[in-house]
């Protein structure tokens, strides 16, 4: 099985922080987002405190991977989590997509090779969340 991240909505962690503050502050979400875009330290601070109980704040994004895997392996992924979207590109090549909540919950639940590959693919796009998962805080 081989997994390569090929697309991702921009500003993943700034949006996680915006979603969190939108629910708990009186500020407008667009103002929050534009402020946070220019403040990566604050974004890291907020995202570092995220807990999975309110997973919906992790849903404002979409990640896409090209997955090379056998049908049975893809079926297993879909049975383990119904929130992955799959499109067949070739016999053993698939476009797979999901949001961060799906990814975080899958990694939390499964300790298989696919979960490991998912976590590795998050390093560049969601580094703070990735560190939290690795440190067992999420």
């Amino acid at each position: 099985m081989e997994l390569v991240l090929v697309s991702c909505t921009p500003e993943v962690e700034a949006l996680v922080a915006t979603a969190l503050l939108t629910t708990t502050s009186g500020a407008k979400p667009s103002a929050l987002f534009h402020r946070l875009q220019g403040d990566p330290t604050r974004v890291r601070e907020i995202v570092g405190k995220v807990e999975t109980q309110h997973g919906s704040i992790l849903e404002h994004n979409r990640l896409g991977w090209v997955l090379e895997a056998k049908e049975g392996e893809v079926l297993k992924i879909l049975l383990d989590s119904r929130f992955f979207n799959v499109l067949r590109l070739e016999d053993s090549k698939w476009l797979l997509s999901a949001n961060l909540r799906t990814v975080v919950e899958y990694i939390g639940k499964k300790k298989d090779a696919f979960a490991g590959a998912l976590l590795k693919s998050l390093r560049d796009v969601a580094p703070t969340l990735c560190s939290c998962i690795e440190a067992g805080r999420l």
């Binding site: 090929v6 697309s7 991702c8 909505t9 921009p10 500003e11 949006l15 915006t18 979603a19 969190l20 939108t22 629910t23 708990t24 502050s25 009186g26 407008k28 979400p29 667009s30 987002f33 919906s56 704040i57 849903e59 404002h60 994004n61 979409r62 896409g64 090209v66 979207n85 499109l87 590109l89 476009l95 997509s97 949001n99």
Partner: protein, 203 residues
């Protein structure tokens, strides 16, 4: 009311990344997402919005955020403005007084908010994947949709047409998307006019 597209999947980038010409835009739509900041809509509108279940929402919480100066934080429908502003305002003032009275008496905000009207403004983030967004436009840009959510849907459509013009060129109410009206006997009867209008919607 304001709708701003904050982030979205670049369709061009997604298509280039997979490098398959045999895959249609329709096949790729569920793999793209669009996140909007929605501001200054009523709770009536947000109730309608969340009926679109294949979407993600992060809404301002009335448990955490006190509602101050309610009179300045309500959405007034045009018909009320024209025919019943006085009655409406009296009701809002009474609700405001009751809310603040309850909070001052020590009632938690999560309980005091029960007296607030549906007109109370709210802000939220919404994320939809491409296929659900097209369905949302199909239903909510329709002439038969309620005025506030239609205004919101039109605003969101303007935003995505700027960001992904090719992908959303054919978007709009279902008559625009399908070339026929699916509303049956409830049709507005103005299909050609509506289709023409949505061929021009842009920033």
């Amino acid at each position: 009311m304001r709708a701003e597209l904050l982030s979205h999947t670049s369709f061009k980038q997604l298509r280039a990344a997979i490098g398959y010409s045999g895959v249609s835009d329709g096949d790729l739509l569920p793999h793209a997402s669009f996140t909007f900041a929605i501001e200054g809509i009523s709770r009536v509108c947000s109730h309608q919005l969340v009926r679109h279940r294949v979407a993600s929402y992060s809404q301002q919480s009335q448990r955490y955020i006190p509602v101050r100066k309610l009179r300045e934080r309500v959405v007034v429908p045009p018909s009320v403005r024209e025919l019943g502003q006085e009655l409406f305002s009296a009701n809002v003032d009474a609700a405001s007084q009751a809310y603040e009275g309850l909070v001052d008496s020590g009632v938690p905000r999560e309980d005091a908010r029960f007296v607030l009207p549906n007109a109370t403004e709210t802000n939220l983030l919404i994320t939809m994947e491409g296929r659900s967004l097209l369905h949302f436009f199909g239903l909510r840009c329709c002439e038969r949709a309620q005025w506030e959510i239609k205004e919101l849907a039109d605003g969101m459509l303007r935003e995505v047409r700027v960001a992904e013009p090719e992908l959303f060129r054919g978007a709009g109410p279902y008559c625009r998307q399908l070339g026929r009206c699916p509303e049956g006997r409830f049709t507005c009867g103005k299909m050609n006019e509506v289709m023409e209008m949505y061929s021009c919607v842009s920033s």
